[in-house]
Amino acid sequence: MKIKKGSGSKIAIDMTPMIDIVFQLLTFFIMTLKIVTPEGDFNIKMPLAAPRAGTPDPDALPPMKLRLVASSSGDCADIILNARSFSGPNRWQELHAHVASIVGDGSQKADAEVEIDADYNLKYENVIDAITAVSGSLDANGHVVKLVEKIKFAPPKSG
């Protein structure tokens, strides 16, 4: 059977509705875009205090008590770790160096624990600074070098 050839004229598709919808979608996504800086987490595992079963392990490192004293304005007035005080503009770096010297890079690193005992009125950013100082640092390549991974809070003080 002989098939007749068509006239060969182009079929014109009207693109206008599609372009309308596409631009509406584009506008929607541009307007709902929210640029936020990345957020990260510090993990803390804190079950409700239960009576300890048996005697504590004598080889286990006792938790380091980190005391954060607040000034009347809520800023951090003093940092005390195991009776040693840190002050000055580089106090968090000094605290980090001190914790690193205690924990070292040996097997004790996994067992090391810090208990943060902060004043009620202390501004929360100081607690995050303290957690940052004890939990590690960044190396030259921007990778996190972990130090103390077990962090807990002392029972809250009354306001």
């Binding site: 596409v22 936020v36 957020e39 990260g40 510090f42 803390i44 809250p156």
Partner: protein
């Protein structure tokens, strides 16, 4: 003077490159869109930390509690007057978890507190969650570039 009307042919514009670009832009913005925005109250300025890196994987059962500068908790976009007011919500979350064969211990409480909030109030939130049965907490901070 008589002007001759030219034999005007309709100009055909090639729309293909523009449509290609537009679809690429849509795909780009679709990937970037953040549906978790309801859990990020703009009034809360998180503390900065160089170690606050975004987690590699999503938390399994996250419950976000935000805390304003004045110590008012925000849960699911709703602001409450005091910390104790969110206990019924936490009890409900625990009930929902238990009804899906999980427990409160499996859930992670994400605390997004304002950097100037009182530490004691943050600890009150943690204590309240502990009394309900939650054990895992993460303190959220904003990533700071450089030290």
């Amino acid at each position: 003077m008589k002007i001759k009307s030219a034999n005007v042919e309709p100009v055909e514009l090639d729309m293909t490159p523009m449509i290609d670009m537009t679809f690429q832009l849509i795909a780009f913005f679709m990937i970037l869109i953040n549906f978790d925005a309801s859990e990020q109250d703009e009034s809360i300025q998180l503390p900065m930390s160089t170690l606050a890196k975004p987690p590699d994987s999503r938390l399994e059962t996250p419950i976000t509690i935000q805390l304003t500068k004045s110590g008012q908790p925000i849960v699911a976009g709703q602001t409450y007057a005091e910390v104790a007011s969110i206990k019924p919500i936490l009890d409900n979350e625990k009930y929902v978890l238990e009804s899906s064969n999980k427990s409160a211990k499996d859930a992670t409480i994400i605390i997004r507190a304002h950097r100037d909030a009182k530490t004691g109030v943050v600890q009150e939130v943690i204590k309240l969650c502990q009394t309900v049965g939650f054990e895992k907490f993460t303190l959220r901070a904003k990533e700071e570039v450089g030290y």
